[in-house]
């Protein structure tokens, strides 16, 4: 029995497909860590692990692969996503894990020489985005670490199924990863994970990270969001259609619930006209996506929050502010367009800052006069921005990349690439990457 099978066998699968962690004991976490540590003591080499991962990712990129198909169906059912939305989201997530990228990572690991890396890593996965954390897990495995993953109760499927594929591709490689699931209420089991792993990587909100980071061996990826800045060169009649389709896709994937989800688009548009056109085109693109990638079932609290966002915009408009609300028939999508703040009358406190949306395809589009105004807009939230999509003429895009690069935002990309960061993405600022492969 391989390690992955053992881990799943340690739990009880309930009739509804859920997992019962009530019979899991601290000792089993310790045993799992010991097993992967033991498997990790056999030196497979970074190149072999990269090849194994490449083969596993290759089969997972195939939409007809049975394990992927079944996993997506199960996740879609339990999370309320449409299968089409999840298929596209997983495609985007797995896109960067090419053989070349994985081998390049292996080379980088090997070049790192004898640097001190943790040998056993624990991962506490989040439930909002299936597969979130796959970059770090792949890097950890290539770097020779053994891995124990605690999945979220709401999404226990993706990593368990991917690990099974890994074990099928290469039994020894598969033995280096175990997937367990327990409720976050079982703090005893989480403490056991932290006690039995050299480092634990936690994907959680700030409260969760704060509670875990009292432990010196925990690295946290807290709450972050993403944005886009579009220069005039990308809003010409020739380009605007393509750009807005890609931006809409960045909004829709994973229902806008991850750190790589687009919340706010800034359009460099001195008179606001091009920015308004961008908002209208994005609305049209989101409407089309609602057909091809039907929206998720929206949980009550999120729907109530979207209702609040819409009503605020609606009443600001009624009150004479130049904000415009574009909305799908139901709650399929929402676009709120705001011209530059200098034209607001009266100006509302907070209306001119970065907007974090409630998700589920709710996005703000704001005109900015120039890059300076854009910088001012995001200044207060720089530490919270994970990715920034940029588009414009070649020169404009270069300027934007330089401007954004200087702010320290970890991932700068083209529209449509937001959910596909490269393997060496400095997620959360790069602390994990530096720990595993050394700083650049």
């Amino acid at each position: 029995m391989n390690a992955t099978t053992q881990s799943v066998g340690a739990q009880t699968r309930l009739p509804d497909g859920g997992l019962d962690s009530s019979r899991l004991f601290e000792s089993e976490i310790a045993s799992a860590a010991a097993r992967v540590r033991g498997a990790g003591s056999i030196n497979l080499g970074a190149d072999r692990m990269a090849d194994v991962l490449a083969r596993a990712f290759e089969v997972w990129r195939n939409r007809d692969y049975t394990r992927r198909r079944d996993a997506i169906a199960a996740i879609a059912h339990s999370a309320g996503y449409s299968v089409a939305l999840l298929e596209n989201s997983i495609d985007a997530l797995l896109k960067p894990f090419t053989s070349e990228a994985l081998r390049a990572m292996a080379a980088r690991v090997s070049a790192g020489g004898a640097m001190h890396r943790p040998k056993t890593l624990g991962f506490i996965a989040a439930s909002n985005v299936a597969g979130a954390g796959i970059h770090e897990i792949a890097i950890a495995l290539i770097a020779g670490a053994a891995v124990v993953v605690k999945t979220a109760s709401a999404e226990p499927i993706f990593f368990a199924e991917f690990a099974r594929t890994l074990a099928e591709v290469d039994r020894d490689a598969g033995a280096r990863i175990e997937i367990l699931q327990w409720s976050r209420a079982r703090t005893d089991l989480t403490a056991a994970l932290i006690a039995n792993c050299e480092r634990v990587v936690a994907y959680g909100d700030d409260l969760t990270i704060e509670s875990l980071q009292s432990r010196p061996n925990v690295i946290g990826f807290g709450s972050r969001v993403s944005a886009a800045v579009i220069a005039p060169g990308a809003m010409t009649s020739v380009r605007i259609h393509g750009v807005t389709e890609l931006l809409a896709r960045d909004v829709a994937l994973f229902e806008q619930l991850g750190c790589l989800s687009l919340h706010h688009v800034f359009a460099v548009s001195p008179d606001g006209g091009a920015a308004r056109e961008l908002a209208i085109r994005m609305s049209a693109a989101l409407e089309l996506l609602a057909e091809s990638m039907p929206p998720a079932r929206i949980p009550l609290r999120d729907a109530a929050e979207i209702r609040g966002v819409r009503e605020r915009a609606r009443w600001r408009r009624i009150a004479g502010e130049p904000v415009e609300l574009f909305e799908g028939r139901g709650f399929e999508w929402t676009v709120i367009f705001e011209p530059r703040p200098s034209s607001f009358a009266p100006k509302s406190v907070g209306d001119d800052s970065f907007k974090v949306s409630p998700g589920f395809r709710t996005v703000h589009v704001t005109a900015v006069r120039d890059l300076g105004e854009f910088r001012d807009r995001i200044a207060g939230i720089l530490g919270r921005i994970e990715a920034m999509a940029v588009a414009g003429h070649e020169n404009e895009a270069a300027d934007l990349r330089a401007t954004i690069g200087a702010t320290g935002i970890p991932y700068v990309c083209a529209p449509g690439e937001m959910q596909s960061p490269p393997l060496d993405w400095r997620h959360g600022g790069g602390a994990f990457l530096d720990m595993m492969v050394g700083s650049r």
């Binding site: 909002n128 729907a303 109530a304 609040g308």
Partner: protein, 379 residues
């Protein structure tokens, strides 16, 4: 009889069977006389003549009061009108809402009538301690107006407003309560939950345990607003017993907001004699609206009323708002059971999201479960 006189008559002598008819008349009056509301309804394609049920009356979000004067034409210039401002939220500095109450006498009638039912069902006057300013000191506060009316209507000569615009004078409040205790005179204490937290804290720090006379009672409102660490309802009830010797059934939380001229109160064995005692120490209390206030929980997407027992956005039709807009949708979640209301919490606004949304949602859900009946009420 004018629409306002009809509403006043209803408040004085409620006839539930005529609520629907009167509500539709009030809606049509508001459509005709509240310009911005008429534009809102027209924007939604609503023909007032075609509206056959109060459930179909378009409700404005309570945030609308931040952006528009939702009052009958000319109200803002009326010398009789009262102007009440919301106090903002815990989510930071933002624009304050404004409710222009062109007919304050309806507001007063509504507030007093339901206070009488829910806080003074024994119809006795008593000493009143308000840990909040009165209307003369804070005219823009709807809660201050209620405090003043409550004192005028229900207080003996012994009363004190121990709050100013900036602070609660807990020392004066404690001294007042000591006097009442010495005279064995029952006292009614009114205030925000935050003000009670300050008073409880002071009494505890100084080791003071008062034993107020039987019949004493308290009403808190405002929930978490203004508190760094919000008190749970069960804590308020427990501390009222510990600090004042006030029985759980006499600790009554009010749910109200500047945008509504009517309020809801906890049902307890004191004001609802059939109410189960098992609810006295729990957070499972219902809130009771007056007969002139219809409450529904709405699906946030369709805005249709949810069936009894299912959670939705609490939406009100308040006849007492006759001179502004009666149909108001809040950002509070709750559910309805046989006309009674259970609060579930307030919708979060624009939280940061990221790889860990699921965990954050869990934390928010836990927080909501801990404070189901302490939603913030902007006043």
């Amino acid at each position: 009889m004018s629409i306002y006189e009809q509403v006043l008559t209803f408040i004085r002598r409620p006839e539930p069977e005529s609520f629907e008819r009167l509500a539709l008349e009030v809606f049509r009056h508001q459509f005709a006389t509240v310009d911005v509301y008429r534009r809102y309804c027209e924007g939604r394609g609503v023909d007032p003549g075609a509206v056959r049920s109060v459930d179909d009356v378009p409700a404005v979000s309570n945030v609308a009061f931040k952006y528009a004067d939702l009052a009958i034409d000319g109200a803002a210039r009326s010398p009789d009108a009262a102007f009440f401002l919301t106090s903002g939220t815990t989510q930071g500095r933002e624009r304050r809402g404004r409710h222009i109450v062109a007919r304050p006498e309806i507001y007063r009638a509504s507030a007093i009538a339901h206070l009488r039912t829910m806080l003074f069902p024994d119809a006795r006057r008593m000493a009143i301690l308000a840990m909040h300013p009165t209307a003369d000191a804070m005219p823009e506060s709807s809660l201050a107006a209620m405090v003043s009316w409550c004192i005028e209507e229900f207080a003996t000569r012994t009363h004190l407003a121990a709050g100013s615009r900036d602070r609660v004078d807990v020392a004066a409040a404690a001294a007042f309560l000591r006097d009442c205790q010495a005279r064995r005179e029952p006292v009614c204490i009114l205030g925000t939950t935050a003000a009670f937290a300050a008073l409880f804290s002071m009494l505890r720090n100084e080791g003071i345990r008062l034993r107020l006379a039987p019949g004493s009672r308290m009403m808190d409102t405002g929930g978490a607003k203004g508190q760094a660490v919000p008190m749970q309802s069960s804590e308020v009830i427990a501390l009222a017993g510990e600090s004042f010797a006030i029985a759980p059934a006499m600790v009554i939380n009010e749910y109200g907001m500047t945008e509504l001229c009517s309020q809801l109160y906890d049902a307890t064995a004191f004001n609802c004699p059939g109410e189960s005692n098992t609810q006295e120490l729990t957070k499972d209390r219902y809130k009771i609206p007056p007969p002139w206030l219809r409450v529904t929980a709405r699906d946030p997407i369709t805005l249709k009323p949810m069936p009894d027992g299912e959670i939705g956005l609490l939406t009100f039709f308040d006849l007492a708002n006759a001179a502004s807009v009666s149909a108001v949708m809040t950002e509070d979640l709750g559910w309805i059971e046989r006309g009674r209301v259970r609060l579930f919490g307030r919708v979060a606004g624009g939280e940061a999201r990221g790889c860990a949304l699921g965990i954050r949602q869990f934390a928010a859900g836990e927080a909501a479960r801990r404070t189901p009946d302490r939603a913030e009420a902007p006043r």
